[in-house]
């Protein structure tokens, strides 16, 4: 009897491992920054090079920080959704223009539309490193006290918005 049971059990375990393993997304590394204060930065704005912006300027608001660049192909993918959210969600979106050329970035926004309340320039990618950015686009949900609550790696999707971000926004704004 065990002669048949043992291979069956081994097979079942293998299937179990594969079932879980094949659904994991190894490219999405959990961020240690979740529920930690967003790293402080003071960066110049994209459209107003004379003015600076930092996390503290958004105190009291629940907002999104979206890391984007004109060279980033996947940013095009999430762009329509960002436009829609900017119009309808009431959640301000701040852009972190990551390792980009100012004129390219401005042109990109003029061409496809600007969903951002404002964008800041991280030409060297240092602020990106502070936020643990490794794959543009990335989006962070930051609460009223400047604490990171959620991180989306890769393009923002409607699914992620509805299942993860929107419920959090509601909870944090309450």
């Amino acid at each position: 009897m065990t002669r048949f049971v043992i291979p069956l059990v081994v097979f079942a375990v293998l299937v179990g491992f594969l079932f879980v393993g094949l659904r994991l997304k190894p490219s999405e590394v959990p961020s240690p920054l979740i529920d930690k204060p967003a790293p402080a930065f003071q960066l110049t704005q994209l459209h107003k090079p004379g003015e600076r912006f930092g996390v503290t300027d958004m105190k009291g608001k629940v907002w999104l920080l979206n890391v984007w660049a004109s060279w980033c192909v996947s940013c095009r993918e999430e762009h329509p959704l960002l436009m829609e959210l900017a119009k309808e969600s009431g959640v301000p979106i701040v852009g972190l223009n990551y390792k980009d050329q100012r004129e390219n970035a401005v042109q990109w926004l003029a061409r496809f539309g600007n969903p951002y309340a404002l964008s800041v320039v991280d030409a060297e990618g240092r602020t990106g490193i502070d936020f643990g950015v490794y794959g543009v686009p990335e989006t962070f949900l930051i609460d009223r006290d400047g604490v990171i609550r959620y991180k989306q790696i890769g393009p923002l999707t409607r699914e992620a918005w509805q299942q993860h971000i929107l419920p959090l926004v509601k909870k944090l704004s309450a």
Binding site: P26, P30, P32, G125, R126, F131, Y134, G135
Partner: protein, 157 residues
């Protein structure tokens, strides 16, 4: 012939003039060596099976620059590693620390080895018992001997 020889000699003389040394890749080779050593222990987030030292990804370049700056500022390897772990998590380390979440990772192979040894042991014992368990009875012995003797090929000369 003489001209050819002369030309050859001249060519050889030219070749023996030492080439100008290539400019060093960085101002401080000791620092670069330290950077390389540390970055072979760190994982590149973009191409996850490459070390930070090997990766040509943009982010890897930036991170090496960041590490180099920190080294110049007198930070220890430990402080630099902590800087990266705070931003990217334990995943950047090729040698993750032993924690409750990494216990399976560290202990798993040993647990499997122990399990294998136990199974092996049990199987060996079972097999030993099986061999012992079937001695021939006296009757069977006699029968076997008779059969062997009746075989014409085995007739003793």
């Amino acid at each position: 012939m003489r001209h050819v020889l002369l030309a050859l000699l001249l060519a050889l003389a030219w070749a023996s003039v030492p080439a100008r040394e290539a400019p060093p890749a960085a101002a401080d080779p000791a620092l670069e060596a330290r950077l390389h050593k540390l970055s072979t222990e760190l994982r590149c987030l973009v191409c996850q099976n490459e070390t930070l030292a090997d990766s040509r990804a943009d982010l890897a370049n930036d991170l090496r620059r960041e590490i180099r700056d920190m080294m110049k500022a007198g930070k220890s390897d430990r402080e630099i590693t902590e800087f990266l772990v705070a931003r990217y998590g334990d995943f950047v380390l090729y040698r993750p620390p032993v924690k409750s979440t990494t216990l399976l990772l560290w202990g798993g192979p040993f647990a499997l080895l122990a399990l294998g040894i136990v199974i092996w042991f049990v199987l060996l014992r079972r097999r030993a018992r099986r061999v012992e368990a079937a001695p021939l009875t006296a009757e069977e012995q006699r029968l076997a001997a008779a059969l062997l003797d009746s075989d014409p090929a085995r007739k003793t000369p």
